[in-house]
């Protein structure tokens, strides 16, 4: 049984697929569409929000995923810039330029690495991974094993999968089980 409170102990390697449940990431949902919003976010994160669908932007500190035309998710390691949420909230939400929500507790990050990861994900998803797997930096929202997920192609054959906490145990077990058959 997966220990959801101590996620880093859960590391599975099967059939060239490495599945690691990692909770130590801050995730922030940002929404907005006016000029001030883009200026403030760019200034605080030192990053330009991706405007093209299914893409992401990254710098040494942050990864920003496109979720919809006026919605993005920023994620980064817990030990980096822990006050960035307060800064974004103060400069954007408080001034009503957009909406900033800390969703760190809502989502669990499962890191999947290895040569066969796209075969594994394809076995439970209607999403066509052909373009996604050839483009590092791609991101998408889709369903895997009937569960809503956000996927980020972080580096070659290395995907960060974000899933709601309540579904994470079931999805993790499905991934581990399915990795036996790819």
């Amino acid at each position: 049984m997966l220990d959801i409170l101590h996620p880093n102990i859960s590391n599975i390697n099967k059939n060239n697929i490495d599945i690691n449940l990692s909770e130590e990431k801050i995730k922030i949902n940002i929404r907005g569409k006016n000029k001030e919003f883009f200026t403030k976010v760019g200034k605080i994160l030192s990053i330009i929000l991706p405007s093209e669908s299914n893409t992401s932007s990254s710098n040494e500190n942050y990864d920003v995923l496109w979720l919809s035309p006026d919605e993005w998710m920023v994620y980064f390691d817990e030990n980096k810039n822990s006050n960035i949420f307060d800064q974004l909230y103060k400069d954007i939400s408080s001034l009503k330029f957009g909406s900033i929500t800390d969703i760190s507790s809502q989502l669990i990050c499962i890191n999947i690495k290895g040569e066969n990861i796209f075969e594994l994900l394809s076995s439970g998803s209607p999403f066509n991974f052909e373009k996604f797997k050839n483009n590092v930096g791609s991101s998408t929202q889709t369903i895997v094993n009937h569960i809503d997920v956000i996927l980020h192609h972080k580096s070659k054959n290395n995907v960060n999968l974000f899933v709601r906490r309540s579904f994470s145990e079931h999805l993790y077990e499905w991934l581990v089980d399915s990795s036996n058959f790819v």
Binding site: S53, N54, L67, S68, P69, E71, P126, F127, N128, T140, Q141, T142, I143, D148
Partner: protein, 93 residues
């Protein structure tokens, strides 16, 4: 099963979407002045055409945006997709 070309995310499987029923139904400006029959007509009565139908769809497992679709219900062929607020394509009217 069929593919729907989300105007924001691109082509995705139908299972990522949720149908929102008939499109372009305008809410009456003065609901209090309507009879019960007229209100029921607006609220409940929908076309069920065999052929070309204008529908609303939501990319519920993706970008969560609403958009309009022109679909031939006899063969599930998607003829056109356009964003909310845009005018429907005239060639299917």
């Amino acid at each position: 099963m069929f593919l729907i070309n989300c105007p924001f995310c691109g082509e995705r499987d139908q299972s990522e979407f949720s149908s929102g029923g008939e499109a372009h139904i305008v809410r009456p400006k003065q609901p209090t002045e309507l009879s019960d029959d007229e209100w029921a007509e607006y609220l409940f009565m929908r076309k069920n055409i065999k052929g070309i139908q204008f529908e609303r769809w939501n990319h519920v497992h993706g970008c969560r945006k609403w958009f309009n679709v022109v679909r031939d219900t006899s063969n599930d062929k998607i003829l056109s997709v356009y964003k909310m607020g845009e005018k429907p394509p005239v060639n299917y009217k």
